[in-house]
Every structure is written in C-alpha cells, then in structure tokens.
C-alpha cells in the first residue's frame, strides 16, 4: 500500500466508525487533496464531513479548534507545512494551550496533518521543514510519518486520542510502498528500529531515513562496522528509553535531518545524549542537516543545501574514519 493510501485508509476507517470525525483543508474535497490523500472521501462521507476551505490557514486551524471544543473530532490538512506559519498563532496560543489553561476542562481531539520538506525545485517558500519549531511547543504531540504502516496506525491512534497531534508527512514519501499490518498494535510514541546494529546508532525520520537506509550497506562495508538505524517516529515526546538502549550498545550517535542546522531538531537529541549518556559515548556525536540558507530553485544549489545519500555516505565515512572505526 502507498503512504498516501495508508493515510487515506486510516481516515476512512475511523470516519466510518465515528460520525464526529470531519476533515477540512484546501482542495481536499472536490479535488481529493494536492497529494491525493483524501481521494474518494467526499463521495463517501459528503460535504458536511469533508470540507473544502478557503485559503485561510489561520481560520482553518482556528475553526478546527472550535469544532473540537464543540464536540467534533476534526482532522485538518494543511496543504504544506510552509503555510502552517499563517496558522501559528492558533497552533501555539490556542491548540497547544487551551487544555492547560482550562485545567483540562477543554480537550482538543484534533489532528493537524501537513507535508513538509524539500521536494523538487519548488523554491524557497515551498521547501521548509518545521518539525523543530512544532516540537518546541509544549502541549502538542508531534509525529513524523516515515512509512505507510506507521502512517496508518499512528493516524488512527491520533484521531482517536483526545489530545492535539501534529502529524508531519513528507512531500516525497506519498508514493512510498509498504505492506501494512492491520492486526499489529503499533504504539505511535515508540521509536522503531529499522535495522539492528552494534557500532553506530543512526537516528533519523521522514525522507532522510530512506536516504540513509539507501547507503547503509555501503557505509557498513566501507567502515567495516554495523549500524543501527532508528526511525524516531514521535518527535515530541521522544522515546528516550529506546534511544538510550541503542546508544549504550553502540557508543556512537549520528542524527540526520533535512532542516537547517541552526536550531535543528536533532540538536536537542544530541544535547540529551551528551547530558545523559556522556560516559557511554566513544566519540563526539555527528549531526547531519541542511545548510543555513533558504532553499534555491536551482537543482544543484537545492541539493547542496540538504543531506543527500551521497553526502550522508561521505560524511559518515569521514566521521567514522576519524573516530576509530
């Protein structure tokens, strides 16, 4: 099943069970979504449950919060994370804080889906990653959705949860294929080991996870070592327990993400590891991320601004060689 189909299925199945679940977003009804994620749902559930909104992100999120206050369970699609910026006041001051400020009298069963990331030459205003900002807001759960199976289970759980969830997708993953295991009881808050290993713990999520996986064997061969690749899955909260077990085993940590280096999400994972596991580390951790520059339209500049399979391989091999591997 494709990533986009898995997200669709999770919404479809939950919607058929609970008429309080409604979808809203730009171009999601008639068109079926920019990335075709909501295809077919208008026909099945009608336009009172699959709502095309105007281009008004602040209101889309603000309205969804009000709908949740009013007893519905909205699932919002923001066309891309780039436009979530227009809704940031609603996300930060309302979505994340109303439950706390009301001493729990208000609950927000609300999911905010949005794809992010560098796609292909979409230019500076359509290429950003904002998981760092979104994860820095207390009061929100943030999931990074790297695979169809996780997408399916995590979204179903997120929709059924009574807490607000930011559900981050990546624009280049919609056609990713994976069999989903419907019977499994996946915990969306748990990190997932993609490949076990003993010498280096590599943590990543979204597209960088796949880019890393694609060169993992070559890295292992070159460094004659074994890598443990972990899909972080939940960015807030973080499954520190699983990370700790892995890092204590390997003694080495690499964090890979697409966003800019300054204020990067991974910096805090590294900071945690240095604070908590200092004496278990055999080398200074490595953090691979994007350059501190807006993303250019030109393909070469674009690719030079973010980690690529090629640069990931080169950087890890250099680092490993300099660190006794």
């Amino acid at each position: 099943m494709l990533y986009r189909e898995a997200i669709n299925l999770a919404m479809d199945e939950t919607m058929s069970e609970d008429t309080n679940i409604i979808l809203l977003g730009e171009d999601i009804a008639d068109v079926g979504g920019t990335f075709r994620v909501t295809e077919g749902l208008l026909k099945k559930y009608g336009k009172t449950r699959v709502i095309d909104t105007p281009i008004a992100e602040l209101s889309i999120v603000g309205n969804a919060i009000g709908m949740a206050i009013g007893g519905l369970r909205p699932v919002v699609e923001l066309m891309t994370a780039n436009f979530s910026l227009l809704a940031f006041d609603q996300i930060v001051n309302h979505m994340a804080k109303l439950p706390f400020m009301s001493a729990g009298k208000i609950r927000l069963p609300l999911v905010l889906r949005m794809p992010q990331g560098v796609s292909k030459q979409l230019g500076a205003q359509h290429s950003e990653n904002y998981e760092n900002m979104l994860s820095s807001i207390p009061g929100l759960f943030v999931f990074a959705v790297s695979s169809p199976n996780y997408a399916y289970h995590a979204l179903k759980k997120a929709i059924k949860m009574d807490d607000p969830v930011i559900f981050i997708e990546h624009e280049l993953l919609y056609n990713k294929k994976e069999e989903i295991d419907r019977s499994s009881d996946l915990d969306p808050f748990k990190a997932r080991i993609i490949k076990e290993g003993t010498d280096i713990t590599i943590i990543s999520y979204l597209k960088m996870l796949d880019d890393t996986a694609s060169v993992l064997e070559e890295i292992e061969k070159e460094l004659n070592c074994s890598c443990e690749l972990i899909d972080l899955c939940s960015l807030n909260p973080v499954d520190f327990k699983s990370l700790e077990i892995s890092i204590k085993k390997t003694g080495r940590l690499i964090m890979i993400e697409e966003g800019h280096r300054m204020g990067s999400y991974g910096a805090q994972i590294i900071s945690w590891a240095v604070e908590e596991l200092f004496y278990f580390l055999d080398a200074a951790p490595l953090r691979l991320c994007g350059e501190n520059v807006p993303i250019a339209y030109n393909r070469k500049l674009e690719l030079a601004s973010i980690p690529t399979p090629k640069s990931i391989k080169k950087d890890i091999i250099n680092w490993g060689t300099n660190n006794g591997l």
Binding site: V31, T53, Q125, Y297
Partner: protein
C-alpha cells in the same frame, strides 16, 4: 486608441503566449522543473496592467507575462525558469520569483495573499515620499479569502494609501470553485464599504489598459485605494501538474472563445500581424537558446544573496 500602443499590447500578449508555450515544452523536456503556473488566456490582464500602471507592482507566482511586459527580457525570464545564473533571480528564485526594483516589479510571491500587506507598506512609503504614482497589487480571487487581504483593505483605506488592488477573478483557486468557499462570486462585494470598486473585462486588453490608467489617476488624487475586479479565465490547469479535471470541456470551450489575442486582432494592421508573429517566434527561440547556454550557479555561491556581502562575513 493609438495604433502603436495597440500594436505594442498585441506584441506583448503574443510574446507572453509564445513564452508560455516554450516554457511548457521545456518543462516536458526536463529543462524546467518545480512549479510552473502558466498565464495562457490571462495575457490581456497581465499586459494591459503592466503597460498602463506607472508605479510599483507586487504580483503572485503567475507572473512570467507580467515580468516580460514590465520590461524584463525574455532571455532573463527564461533563464530563471531554467535555474541558470543569467536568470532574473540568478537561478535562486525560479518561475514564481521574478524581481526588478529598477522596473518597479516586486514580483512573484508564492504564499497566497502574502504579498498584499507588503504592497500596503510600499504604498505607505510612496505616500511618505510624495510619489503620487503609488503601488498596484495583483492577486487571485482565492486570495481575497485570506486574513491578510481584509487587514490590508482596512489599513490602506484608513491611511488613504495610493494603492490599486487588482483582483484577477478566474473563478478558481486551484481546483476549488470560488462559490464553494467564498461568500460572494464577485469579490468586489467584500470591499465596497472601504473604497470604490470597478469591474472590468479581463479578457479585453484595451478595457484593462483603460481601467488601470484610470485607477492610476485616481490614486494620485490622494483619496485612498481603489479596487478593480477583472473577470478572466485561464486556459490551462492551475499549474503544469494540474490536469484541469474540474472544468468541463464545455466550460473550457466557452473560456477559449474569449481569447484576448483574437479579440484584439481586428483592430490591427495585416502586415504588422504577419511580421510580428515571426519576430516573436524568433525572440522566444533565442530566449530558449540563451537559457540553455547560460551556466549553472556555482556551488561556492550557495550562501550568497541571503545577506549583503558585509552581512555574509558575519553569517558564515
């Protein structure tokens, strides 16, 4: 109307049309990538506006033809689509981001409605500097649903700013019909309490030219902003990756009957028409060759332009 002006308007529309054809072709050949919002069908609006308005303009992402009509060369605009160093934005911007302060073109913004408050600010600067020509901001029908739009009409009106709001009403925001998400199908309704509004046939370049000229004169009077709603119709999908499935073939046929180029033709000299087509085709061919030959930006310049050269010393 003066025949040289009419010939110039026709030339710009034809250049725009062929430019967009070439852009489309080169997209499918892999020379252009990312977003490509073609202006085919809406040329009268782009050309008439850019030719008639004297002050500064702020536009959306659908701005190739506006950039050309403002005076940017087809070479530089095409090279930008190719992502090359000789492009208007040196390959950094791409199709949606053309800028030329010299030509008063604070072009392409890809955040819907995002540029409207910027135009309000620039209009304030022009008023402050006593530059009567003011500013013009172009946006779609969809953008009139943005919060920033409503904030802007209020601020521009309360400050009596020299600003022309130009709404290109093509009845769609990507695949969403305006009626399904907007309280009104005519967006002027949203503005009537704030400022004078004018409706114009956006498929008629002479009508657009006249309306924008008059609006340009109006804002010089210091009475504040004016709103123009131009009814128009795009012949293609929203962008090159939009299959345009939400419009019936009947609707498309009706739309294409309004072709602004065909509409202007009867007013023009036959010899001119024969000559100009050939000239435009040559010009576009040259632009494509120029874009192909232009070098890629150098990777050592990756961080350039984000700050001044002085600032870069601190940033890197």
């Amino acid at each position: 109307m003066d025949s040289t002006l009419m010939e110039d308007l026709y030339y710009c529309m034809l250049l725009g049309r062929h430019f967009e054809y070439a852009a489309k072709e080169n997209y499918f050949q892999g020379n252009i990538s990312g977003f490509l919002h073609l202006d085919i069908g809406q040329e009268a609006l782009s050309v008439g506006t850019m030719k008639a308005f004297e002050g500064d303009v702020f536009t959306t992402y659908r701005e190739h033809v506006m950039a050309l009509s403002r005076g940017m060369s087809a070479n530089a605009v095409m090279a930008e689509l190719f992502g090359k160093v000789d492009g208007v934005s040196k390959g950094r911007g791409g199709s949606m981001h053309m800028f030329s302060p010299q030509l008063g073109f604070y072009g392409g913004d890809a955040i819907v409605g995002g540029h409207i408050p910027n135009a309000v600010g620039c209009a304030y600067a022009r008023k402050y500097q006593d530059k009567k020509t003011g500013c013009l901001v172009v946006f779609g029908d969809g953008a009139t649903n943005c919060g920033g739009f409503f904030e802007s009409i209020n601020i521009a009106t309360s400050q009596k700013l020299p600003l022309v709001f130009l709404c290109e009403n093509n009845k769609y925001a990507i695949g969403t019909k305006i009626e399904s998400v907007s309280a009104f199908s005519k967006q002027a309704k949203k503005v009537e309490a704030y400022m004078p509004t004018v409706e114009v046939d956006g498929m008629d370049v002479l009508a657009v030219y006249k309306a924008i000229k008059e609006a340009g004169e109006y804002i010089k009077e210091g009475k504040g902003p004016i709103f123009i709603e131009a009814m128009t119709c795009r012949f293609e999908g929203h962008s090159i990756s939009d299959a345009n499935k939400y419009r019936s073939s009947k609707e498309m046929q009706k739309c294409k009957e309004l072709d602004p180029l065909i509409k202007l033709k009867p007013f023009l000299d036959k010899v001119f028409l024969e000559k100009i087509e050939e000239q435009v085709i040559q010009e576009i061919m040259q632009a494509v060759n120029f874009a192909k030959a232009s070098p890629e930006p150098s990777l050592t310049d990756l961080h350039k332009y984000s700050f001044t050269n002085e600032g870069l010393k601190h940033a890197l």
